[in-house]
């Protein structure tokens, strides 16, 4: 098996797995209790909070553990809305986001629209880029939130989030800036981002941690509604007994990512550029998203997204699966069927081009041999599909 779907999820890192084990067995204490057993759970959560904070240059007190990226995104948008409505009973307010966000943002925004909120969905350029000027031009007197993703999950475009945050703040100080960093967290250097954004979502299983854990970063000092009500966990902002094992594994994955981010980035760029070069040799292949060899300031190091003319990504994925290669096309629905990608449409791909999309997301655990082998199989499959009949 060759695993090239690391944007969907990653294999858990061995140290992260090991860090979880005590809390699944002997260290079962509820972190809220007073005795020694509980204190060890509490300490593990504290360590994890520090490690997660270090990846974005935040303080531990600004990190709130959630059940994952989707919850964090839901909380960010709904929390911002509730916070706004508490002060403004007359107006339902306005959100600025983009047309290429993950469904966790888009579907939450649509939900808020159904409650009366106005939402502006900014269109990116042909590489998937949103500019600060676009965002500031969209600001209205009732705008209460800007949410622009840190990096796109499908085409890998890295958005100028810090610049956007500064530009918005230059105009209005009371607009919250959120960024969905699920795809970028632990993949690229986000050291400065906590100085610019107010809210940031991230997920554990995209960087070698376990599934079912994430964070919402909430900048110190901002007023923000809780999402889950109940006990006083997470400073009363996100109630519920902590998923200690998950949090401990997540923390360990953050620690690994922090220590190894530069070598990880260079390894992934080499693999990525190799695969892009090989796929570019196939005729009629479009690379989606910004691409300069060696560059990771505009594109995620591990992301390869292509549209291959004359084939259906859906069939190609199944044939790749038959060959033991894990890849993806657009984002998947709960049924497992492929949706026509809203991201590819937003960057101007035709329906036919979007149908032929494939996404390979690499990790530093992949090898050059794997990439070469996969590239060879992809080329064969494309030829088969283009020749039509397999009879």
């Amino acid at each position: 098996m060759i695993y090239l779907d690391n944007a969907a999820t990653t294999k858990i890192e061995e140290p992260a797995f090991n860090a979880m084990l005590p809390f699944l067995k002997e260290e079962y204490g509820n972190a809220s209790a007073v005795y020694e057993l509980a204190r060890r759970s509490k300490k593990a959560i504290f360590e994890a909070r520090k490690n997660a904070a270090s990846l974005i240059g935040a303080m531990p007190s600004e990190i709130f553990f959630t059940s994952g990226g989707t919850e964090s995104d839901n909380w960010a948008l709904c929390g911002a809305y509730e916070t706004f409505r508490k002060k403004n009973t007359e107006s339902s307010g306005h959100i600025i986001t983009t047309a290429i966000e993950h469904h966790a943002i888009l579907h939450t925004a649509q939900y808020l629209e159904s409650l009366g909120v106005s939402v502006t969905y900014l269109k990116p350029d042909h590489e998937g880029l949103i500019t600060a000027a676009q965002v500031t031009e969209a600001i209205r007197p009732d705008t209460f939130l800007v949410s622009v993703m840190t990096a796109n999950n499908e085409i890998g475009t890295i958005e100028p989030v810090c610049e956007i945050a500064d530009a918005v703040r230059g105009i209005r100080k009371d607009i919250l800036i959120h960024t969905d960093a699920v795809q970028a967290f632990g993949q690229i250097n986000l050291q400065g981002i906590a100085k610019h954004a107010d809210l940031l979502s991230a997920s554990s299983h995209k960087l070698g941690g376990p599934k079912g854990v994430g964070i919402l970063f909430i900048r110190d000092g901002i007023k923000f509604s809780p999402f889950m009500r109940g006990g006083m966990q997470e400073s009363g902002r996100r109630a519920g007994t902590e998923n200690v094992a998950g949090i401990a594994g997540f923390g360990e994955a953050c620690k690994l990512a922090f220590a190894g981010i530069d070598s990880k980035i260079s390894a992934e760029i080499l693999l990525r550029d190799r695969l892009i070069a090989k796929l570019s040799d196939i005729t009629d292949v479009i690379i989606n998203g910004p691409y300069n060899a060696g560059d990771y300031l505009k594109r995620l190091p591990g992301n390869v997204s292509v549209c291959i003319k004359g084939i259906e990504g859906e069939s190609a994925l199944i044939m790749l699966d038959r060959e033991g290669i894990c890849a993806s096309a657009g984002s998947a629905c709960a049924t497992g069927a492929m949706e026509p990608s809203h991201v590819l449409k937003a960057i101007g791909r035709s329906d036919d081009e979007a149908k032929g999309s494939l996404r390979f997301t690499l990790s530093h655990h992949n090898t050059m041999e794997e990439i070469d082998k996969a590239a060879g199989i992809i080329a064969e499959i494309v030829e088969k599909l283009r020749n039509g009949k397999n009879f």
């Binding site: 579907h107 649509q110 939900y111 159904s114 259906e312 859906e314 069939s315 199944i318 044939m319 699966d321 038959r322 629905c333 709960a334 049924t335 497992g336 069927a337 492929m338 949706e339 088969k384 599909l385 039509g388 009949k389 397999n390 009879f391």
Partner: protein, 364 residues
């Protein structure tokens, strides 16, 4: 090397057993569920409590896991919309009575799905239909009745081409329905006791008129007149999409005797109500002819057939002959009741064993 077959799995017992049987027979089986439901937005999901036929997919996936075959969901929503739903609505607006299963089989399953199956390297497409495929003495492939006489699904398969039939497997046709359930039970398939589906899958409540009204881009004809066979006004009606030929219930017209819809005229919006006798006809004509067991029919030739004018029609014997370019007619030995334009006229050999061909009933 064993042959590869893609099995269209609906999550029901028949297609599940189909996959199981083929796997037992040594085929390399790939399970596929066609996603034909339209995109739903997040607010619909909150209202309807689900998305994209998840339970059907869950059932099919559990069966695939049980019998250990690879399983995929493929997106056929645009094909289904175009060939089945749009066609269905357009036919109703024209006063016709379409059979969407025929269109789905013809265009979605045996064109789009078969092509995808070929794309991924399959030799055959298989489904859980109660029908069999055989090669006749003249070398042509045809569809014949399944072992389960009570569940004959040949009618909706008449439009398949020779090439499609050559690449199709229908293993369920060799079994009785009761045996199929038994096989499912013995194989431990989690759908062994699932109810058979009824009605048209995309209009589960059977209210076609409201379904059509909700379709984008469809202008539903407004109210019109109910008239007698001689053209006299009886009452106003809700619009022609609310009626089909042979309908008796829901007319809202008080009458001493039993009255039925005997004719629908989309141009004038008139719906004719008449007696049961007015519904009887000896000659039924059809166009858009697809030949299966027979290669065709020469002008002047008369062939003895048994023909069906709707799904579940037991069939009636008669003569098949050409009625001009691209048209045929069947003259029945005994009159048939309520032949509705838009439905299929499917003609079999005289014993009713296998399909000669079929077409769409036209108004004469």
């Amino acid at each position: 090397m064993s042959k590869t077959v893609v099995v269209g799995m609906s999550g029901g017992v028949d297609s599940s057993v189909c996959a199981y049987l083929l796997k037992e027979q040594g085929y390399n089986v790939i399970g596929v569920t066609m996603q034909i439901w339209r995109p739903e937005n997040v607010c619909d999901i909150a209202d309807n409590g689900g998305c994209c036929g998840l339970s059907a997919v869950d059932d099919a996936r559990r069966v695939a896991e049980t019998i250990d075959i690879p399983y995929y969901v493929m997106d056929f929503r645009s094909e289904f919309q175009k060939w089945v739903i749009d066609h269905f609505a357009a036919q109703y607006v024209k006063g016709l009575t379409p059979n969407p299963c025929i269109e789905c089989n013809r265009h979605v399953k045996w064109e789009a799905l078969l092509q995808k199956a070929r794309d991924i390297g399959a030799d055959y497409l298989a489904t859980g239909h109660y029908a069999r495929i055989s090669q006749l003495e003249n070398g042509r492939y045809s569809i014949s009745a399944s072992k389960t006489a009570a569940k004959d699904q040949t009618y909706a398969l008449y439009a398949l081409t020779q090439d499609q039939l050559a690449h199709t497997l229908l293993p369920i046709g060799e079994y009785e329905k009761t045996d199929v359930r038994k096989i499912a039970e013995e194989a431990g398939l989690p759908v062994a006791h699932k109810k058979d589906s009824q009605e048209i899958c995309f209009v589960p409540d059977g209210d076609y008129a409201s379904f059509i009204e909700k379709e984008d881009g469809v202008t539903v004809p407004g109210p019109g007149d109910f008239v007698t066979p001689s053209g006299e006004f009886i009452a106003r009606h809700k619009g022609i999409t609310h009626y089909t030929i042979g309908q008796r219930r829901g007319l809202g017209v008080p009458a001493g005797e039993r009255i039925y819809v005997t004719d629908i005229d989309p141009a004038s919006g008139k719906v004719t109500l008449g007696s049961n006798d007015d519904l009887m006809t000896s000659v039924v004509s059809a166009d858009d002819i697809r030949w299966m067991g027979l290669e065709g029919i020469a002008p002047g030739e008369r062939v003895r057939v048994k023909a069906k004018i709707r799904y579940n029609h037991p069939g009636e014997t008669g003569y098949l002959e050409s009625a001009g370019e691209g048209l045929v007619k069947v003259t029945f030995d005994k009159p048939v009741r309520a032949a509705a334009p838009g439905q299929a006229l499917v003609f079999y050999d005289e014993a009713g064993t296998y399909i000669y061909g079929g077409g769409t009933i036209i108004k004469t």
